[in-house]
């Protein structure tokens, strides 16, 4: 199983992210991917083997296991991590497109004063403004939606975040209501709560980043509006000063011409 490729993808986009975005990447990789790889697989490794039902009826165990675990916890977390990381692809593609356009303009001779050579364009950190701001904000929005959706699916599929130690199952071909026992329920509950908490933290970081980006834009717009408002007053002051200077010079002339000879 290889998460290194995902790390390369997100790491590449990380350069152009905000500080909150960089914290998000760290949380994702240390608290979610690493925990999934290092611990969760060991805990869930024998989930079907050690799922035991109190009956010798062939097929009863399979059917009960399938009914209570339509998708395994670790598969759902792996899918969640993949879906949550993919909006970063949008940003990566936009940055690549921006660099491609800048290189094309540079080759034509348009941006020679801004960059020394093509390597300079590739190394430059792209600022989050203009259309990239919209792409980046949409990617954060989709991330939040995916996190929330997966957390809801988890809650809906397993009736909460706690795993019971015994389940009652009466589905055909089980002959009657049989007891089925899950392996390591407490350990699984601990890891489930850990992963859910990490999801919540990531979601809060994404919401904070979204608010930060929106506030930054509002702040910039109000600053621009303020300088525009100050500028007309400044122009008015200048023109009044010019008028006064003209009057002074005119009266000076008159004073000189009116001097009695």
């Amino acid at each position: 199983m290889d998460w290194g490729a995902l790390h390369t993808l997100i790491g590449g986009v990380n350069k152009h992210s905000t500080s909150i975005g960089k914290v998000w990447v760290t949380v994702i990789f240390i608290f979610r991917v690493m925990i999934l790889v290092v611990a969760a697989h060991e805990v869930w490794g024998d989930e079907q083997e050690d799922f035991v039902c109190n009956t010798l009826q062939p097929g009863c165990k399979n059917v009960c296991y399938d009914h209570f675990f339509p998708v395994s916890h670790i598969r759902l977390w792996a899918l969640q991590l993949i879906f949550v990381s993919t909006p970063a692809l949008l940003v990566a593609m936009h940055v690549a497109y921006y660099r491609h356009e800048t290189t094309r303009k540079f080759r034509r001779g348009d941006k020679r004063n801004e960059f020394k050579d093509i390597e300079d364009i590739k190394k430059q950190k792209v600022r989050i403004e203009g259309s990239l701001w919209w792409t980046y904000t949409s990617s954060i929005f989709f991330r939040i939606i995916f996190e929330a959706a997966f957390m809801y699916v988890f809650y809906f599929l397993y009736n909460g975040y706690h795993l019971p130690w015994v389940l009652k199952c009466g589905i055909d071909p089980c002959p009657n209501l049989v007891d089925c026992f899950i392996s390591r329920p407490t350990e699984k509950t601990v890891f489930t709560i850990f992963m859910i908490s990490a999801s919540v933290i990531c979601m809060l970081l994404n919401v904070a980043e979204l608010c930060y980006l929106l506030l930054r834009v509002c702040f910039r717009r109000s600053k621009r509006a303020q300088t525009q408002r100050n500028h007309p007053n400044h122009a008015l002051k200048e023109s009044k000063q010019n008028e006064m200077n003209e009057l002074i010079s005119d009266s000076g002339q008159n004073a000189i011409t009116g001097f009695p000879s």
Binding site: M1, Q48, N62, D66, F69, S72, I74, R75, A78
Partner: protein, 218 residues
Amino acid sequence: MSWMFLRDLLSGVNKYSTGIGRIWLAVMFAFCLLVYMVAAEHVWKDEQKEFECNSRQPGCENVCFDDFFPISQVRLWALQLIMVSTPSLLVVLHVAYRESREKRHRKKLYVSLATMDGGLWYTYLISLIVKTGFEIGFLVLFYKLYDGFSVPYLIKCDLKPCPNTVDCFISRPTEKTIFILFLVITSCLCIVLNFIELSFLVLKCFIKCCLQKYSKKP
């Protein structure tokens, strides 16, 4: 199974693709390859061990499993990933051929090695058509082999040496169905992207030819 080679191949092809081609590569990589490597292999790991028939007759389980799964779904998925990624090699080979030609003649023969003009355009078009063909072919094969895209929880089997029609239970049918549907949706998305790219390339060439014809007219 080592998928690093396929991943490196896909990243290498990225340089010579169009914009839509790059989106296809991203979808392929993120959704198909990563989901396969991370999740699908594990879901099918114990498929034969946990396949259970309601009979104590030795050999009955083996025969029924073999009849219902002539080739495991996860192996078919892996074959599909490999076959669909390899036509992109044609483009890489053609660019390498251009490079070796320029070295041999020791002068610049092309505007740029990766510009899609002349022979490289045809190579790229052929690779797109072959890729789409493989995707559609594998989807049809999947549908025909397993009678649809869903995995039942119970199958009836009466092959020798089973003494009568026995019930056989497949392990994790719901999880397997979810992943197969995921595969089908991603394949359809890839097919749509390939068609869009194909039309885009043909249209661009057609417009270029028309413009050239009109600019030549006095």
